[in-house]
């Protein structure tokens, strides 16, 4: 693997009550929060044994069925596509925490074992009491509109191929070593994203394997790796990374636990930018190149460049959709778009 030159900033000596959010947000880069959650009960318990963490999770689990990904030994922890990229190399099934943990325990002594991954389970739904005792203090005006949602990630060794998420994220390593390999959003060109659907977890993922890079098939991956930020987390460590950054997540132990918090910064009534992209594929991409260039200019003017410039020469009462979006304005536009789409 190519040597990575990016260093990740590390903040030490902070607690869940004293996260320096302004400092985090000012960088627009990943930041390691060393030992942020070292005093969380599950992290402390993990210092004794992973079996104790499993028992504690089981004790406080509400036994509700949830989704688990299961892969055979030959997937080597990598939850991804089948050969034709039309399906997956794992199965997703409804199960319960006791069942999943039972399966993991029964194979602990085997060299070859199944890979099991409970991912993105709402912490407060699966483990109501534990989610109360494993909180961070979100004291920043950014959280007034959008309260962070907490998820828990449990399972054997696993690799989630690099993908981006829209929310900002603080990932807290509870048990087992975990590695995040992160790429800035502009590395998409070098990351060879796979199909729009189906996707292993709702987001488009890279088709490359970062630990065994195939530079013949994916030559630009070299460039991506030269721009990567690699973060190794020990239990008790946390990682902040900005919205839209690509990240591969690896868990290395026979049983691993992570809790993350994610939140959107924008007003919740805005539409989903992924819908804009999909709509543009349907409506814009396959038009003549000259037309597309004109649209690019329009998008730059109305969407990506200075939004003040678009409206400053008009009386405010005439701004309509050019003004900063209000909830009522999004309602009107939503109704209009819905109507326009129905043809």
């Amino acid at each position: 693997m190519t040597i990575v030159k990016n260093n990740v900033q590390i903040i030490e000596g902070i607690t869940p009550e004293s996260i320096p959010f302004d400092q985090l947000f000012s960088q627009n880069k990943p930041v390691i929060l060393k030992g942020l959650v070292k005093d969380w009960p599950l992290v402390k318990l993990g210092k004794q044994s992973s079996a104790k963490v499993m028992a504690e999770l089981e004790l406080h689990n509400n036994k509700k069925p949830m989704l688990v990904y299961q892969g055979s030994p030959n997937i080597e922890a990598r939850f991804g596509y089948n050969k034709s990229c039309t399906g997956f190399n794992f199965t997703a099934k409804k199960s319960t925490i006791p069942e999943v943990f039972g399966d993991i325990r029964s194979q602990l002594t085997q060299d070859e074992h199944d890979y099991l991954y409970v991912n993105s389970l709402r912490f407060d739904e699966g483990f109501p009491e534990l989610s109360q005792s494993h909180q961070l203090a979100f004291t920043h005006s950014e959280f007034n509109q959008n309260q962070p949602v907490s998820k828990i990630w449990l399972g054997t060794e696993s690799v989630a191929a690099a993908h981006f998420d829209q929310p900002k994220n603080i990932a807290c390593c509870l048990l087992g070593k975990r590695r995040f390999t992160l790429f800035p959003p502009n590395q998409i060109d070098n990351l060879y994203p796979g199909p729009l659907e189906p996707t292993p977890g709702g987001q488009v993922v890279t088709l490359t394997n970062l630990s065994q890079p195939d530079f013949t098939r994916f030559p630009r991956l070299k460039e991506a790796l030269a721009n990567a930020y690699v973060v190794d987390l020990e239990p008790g460590d946390a990682l902040y990374y900005p919205s839209m950054w690509w990240h591969e997540v690896e868990a290395f132990d026979r049983f691993n636990a992570m809790v993350n918090f994610w939140w959107l910064e924008a007003e919740p009534y805005l539409g989903n930018p992924m819908d804009v992209l999909t709509h543009a594929m349907m409506s814009l991409r396959d038009r003549p190149i000259k037309e597309k260039e004109a649209w690019k200019a329009l998008f730059n003017y109305y969407i990506f460049n200075d939004t003040e410039k678009v409206r400053e020469h008009m009386p405010p009462e005439s701004h309509g959709a050019l003004a900063t979006m209000t909830e009522d304005q999004t309602r009107r536009i939503r109704a209009m778009l819905r109507n326009n789409l129905n043809r």
């Binding site: 069925p65 989704l67 389970l121 709402r122 699966g126 129905n342 043809r343």
Partner: protein, 241 residues
């Protein structure tokens, strides 16, 4: 044989549904749901029917006075402002698909179509989808009917358990003398006992009102007046023959 499959705008892009009255609508009564009483009572007599074998209660709209007679249908289709949802839905039904992505047990209803239904073709009738896959007005109309049925199933349980726990139904015998020779009898039908309903007090009254059932019971009562409209329709049709 019902062959209901999930409707989609790719596989079923050219499908049309024949909504002309010939097919399937010649019935003299229709099962109706609590969710449509407030509309249907304006036009149809609504009566409760108890299945003599199962004891199960249903609400029926009376459409005609003899077997297979639907007086509200003419050559131009329905003559009533409202149509019972079960007849309006055509060859469509709601199915339930297990939500796979999420952790909860919530099931999302999906629209299914019986592609073997004789009303379904690619030649005649109303378009289900617009030219490029949007939803045609007819599909919207069907969706409303399906929603009425879907929420009606739950509301019916409330309605029937309340009227039964308060013993508000009484048998009704309907004898209609159309002429000196023709007479029609309906059996196993019940309506609301007006005296009992008007004497309800306190908790019972509050409960009926709270569950949105009180007004519906008065609607059902007043809908009995529509029998006269039915007789007039019948006589008008006979006179034309």
């Amino acid at each position: 044989m019902n062959n209901a499959i999930v409707l989609n705008n790719v596989d079923h892009k050219n499908i049309k549904v024949d909504t002309r009255p010939e097919a399937n609508l010649n019935v003299n009564r229709a099962l109706v749901y609590a969710t449509e009483i407030s509309e249907l009572h304006k036009e149809f007599p609504l009566v409760f029917h108890k299945n003599p074998e199962t004891g199960q209660t249903q609400l029926h709209a009376i459409l005609g006075l003899k077997k297979d007679e639907n007086l509200f249908i003419s050559d131009n289709g329905w003559q009533s402002r409202f149509v019972p949802a079960l007849l309006a839905r055509g060859p469509f039904s709601l199915g339930y698909k297990k939500a796979n992505q999420d952790n909860d047990e919530q099931q999302d209803p999906v629209i299914c179509i019986d592609i073997d239904d004789p009303r379904v073709s690619t030649e005649h009738g109303e378009d289900v989808f617009l030219q490029f896959g949007g939803e045609a007005p007819y599909l919207n109309y069907v969706k409303k009917a399906l929603q009425t049925i879907d929420s009606g199933i739950a509301f019916d349980k409330t309605l029937y358990s309340l009227v039964e726990s308060m013993d508000l139904l009484e048998p009704v015998s309907i004898n209609i003398k159309l002429s000196n020779v023709e007479e029609i009898n309906f059996s196993d039908y019940y309506t609301v006992n007006q005296e009992k309903l008007s004497k309800l007090t306190g908790d019972s009254l509050e409960k009926l009102s709270q569950y949105g059932v009180l007004s519906l019971l008065y609607f059902v009562l007043s809908s009995m007046g529509n029998f006269q409209a039915l007789i007039d329709l019948k006589n008008a049709k006979s006179a034309m023959c």
